[in-house]
Amino acid sequence: MSTMPAEPVRPEAIAVRLDGVTKRFGDTVALKDASLKVRRGEFMTLLGPSGCGKTTLLNLVAGFLAADAGELFIEGALVTDVATSERDIGMIFQNYALFPHMTVAANIAYGLKTRRVARGEIERRVREVLALMKLNGLEERKPRQLSGGQQQRVALARALVIRPKVLLMDEPFSALDKNLRASMQVEVKEIQRRLGVTTIFVTHDQSEALSLSDRIAVMSDGEIHQIGSPQEIYRAPRNRFVASFIGEVSVLRAKLERIEGDVATVSLGDSRVSVPAEPLRGLNAGTPVDLFTRPEQLRIVAGDGAVTATVAAHVYQGGHVDVYADSPDAAGRILVRVPGDAALDAPVGGKVGIFPAASGAVAFPTE
């Protein structure tokens, strides 16, 4: 499992390409035969739990690590053995890694000086990027005299001013508090789109990935499980890991009824649900399967349903209520998202029926 059978992309539109890249640390394989194509101007997110290999992949693109096998291309040029300093990348570290002994202006000018850009040109471009990042007036400050958000802007300015072929970001928002994080995400996304800079972004936060990305590569245990748009990843997860890592999910016990072309039908009690056939190919009718459903795809009724459950808790969220319920027909707890606040009437400890939507869910063979 590596790449999506994506629509053909003109080769010149690919900014970064990994072909079967493997990286080992001693006996552990940090990245296993990874292949990935990042299109020019695209915002690509590497998403996965810690230790999944996403940072290793980023460090390989940056050149901080050398691959044990495979090839890496940036803008069509083979860079597997090219030093970091010759790769024309922009790197944003989690702690920003601003040079503490240099002013904001000197930090930003650093990458232009290494490229021997003329002094007047440096001044002009630094001024330009200071304005773009709303950092005017902070030129002569040292990094420690800046707030977290300002430091992040300087880090971005420093990386963008060199007009990198690809911008690499390693969990850049994790050091910011919640409100600042949200506004920086919007701002970074807007600047990325405006400049059209190809971006590879690493995060373990699935909501961050869903909201920022053009495409997401979901990773675990050194492997890329699925590459696709946020909608594809959310609506059509390729396997159990992707389905449970992205968004909230309830796992209901069901049976395979039949497979017709690309659509399979599974049954829960008297209910029938249409799911993609792909993950269930080769299974016989009657085989138990797990139905992965989103909270908004479930409906709750008084009395009997496809699944009968006991209400464990409701959590009032203003616009909707999250109802948690337990059932012998589910693996783990069931989460139902009910609009309005009528669901608050279902008493905790009471029996309710739960119906899945007729389509939109996915099923995988029971493990």
Partner: protein
């Protein structure tokens, strides 16, 4: 929790007594230096500056000071270069015997100074270097190297490697990274190591006694020779000059780099 007033008073008294105890010798010497009588005595009788004049005019002290400066500047400069290079090797590379070297160089108190002095005396005799500055300087390098090494090594360990990676990502080749990022951030550690080395070298007596000759004797050795023959307050005046000199050096370091950073007691921010 607030402690009772009596406990607090007791605590303060102990602190004051301790501080007093630490600076007592210096105070006694300082007072004795202004004694009018030609006796190394306490309490003094009458006030005079003539021992300071004598300290400055005494030929052996002048040459001793001059020699001490030569040895101090050469030895500390060599130790800074060698120590910094060594600290880099210890921090960045894994090689055979690394652990042994690390322990040896980071634990300078294991080999006593007189052993080092004696060793160099024997070597110097073999190599016919008995009366040269070379042997004194090399001996001092060995003595002060661990202090430079330790200071730079700690700074290197505290250095955020991501700063170097950031510089690389911005197009800097290794030499540029070293000179624009790594070394500037190590300046406090290097200056601290150099200061320790310089002060130690200038004050060093035990090993110097073995390896210096009449022509190369450093100030502490000259003072020792003086005190064997005379017992007047010139020595006390000399001590005071030493203290004032060291204080000036540290004040300068504080003005330019901040003492906390120089002595490596500040947190790496």
């Amino acid at each position: 929790m607030r402690s009772a007033p009596i406990i607090r008073l007791l605590g303060r008294t102990v602190v004051v007594l301790l501080l007093g105890f630490i600076i007592l010798p210096a105070v006694v010497v300082a007072i004795a230096a202004f004694n009018d009588r030609a006796l190394l005595a306490f309490p003094p009788e009458g006030f005079s500056l003539r021992w300071f004049v004598k300290a400055f005019e005494y030929r052996d002290f002048q040459t001793g000071f001059h020699n001490g400066l030569i040895v101090m500047l050469s030895a500390s400069a060599i130790a800074v270069v060698v120590g910094t290079a060594f600290a880099f090797a210890l921090d960045r590379y894994r090689f055979a015997g690394r652990g042994v070297i690390e322990t040896l160089l980071l634990a300078p108190l294991v080999v006593p100074h007189f052993t080092v002095g004696l060793g160099f005396l024997i070597l110097a005799a073999q190599l016919r270097l008995m009366r040269s500055f070379t042997v004194v300087i090399v001996c001092h390098v060995v003595l002060v190297l661990p202090f430079v090494l330790r200071s730079v090594y700690i700074s290197l360990r505290n250095l955020d490697r991501r700063l170097e990676l950031a510089a690389e990502s911005l197009g800097a080749r290794p030499a540029r990274v070293l000179f624009t990022v790594t070394l500037p951030l190590l300046v406090p550690g290097v200056v601290s190591g150099w200061l320790f080395a310089a002060i130690l070298s200038f004050n060093e007596f035990t090993a110097s006694l073995f390896v210096t000759a009449q022509r190369t004797q450093t100030l502490p050795v000259a003072m020792y020779n003086y005190v064997r023959e005379y017992a007047d307050p010139t020595m006390a005046a000399m001590s005071l000059i030493f203290i004032v000199g060291t204080t000036l050096l540290l004040t300068l370091a504080n003005t330019f780099f901040g003492l906390g950073r120089v002595l490596n007691v500040d947190d790496a921010r």
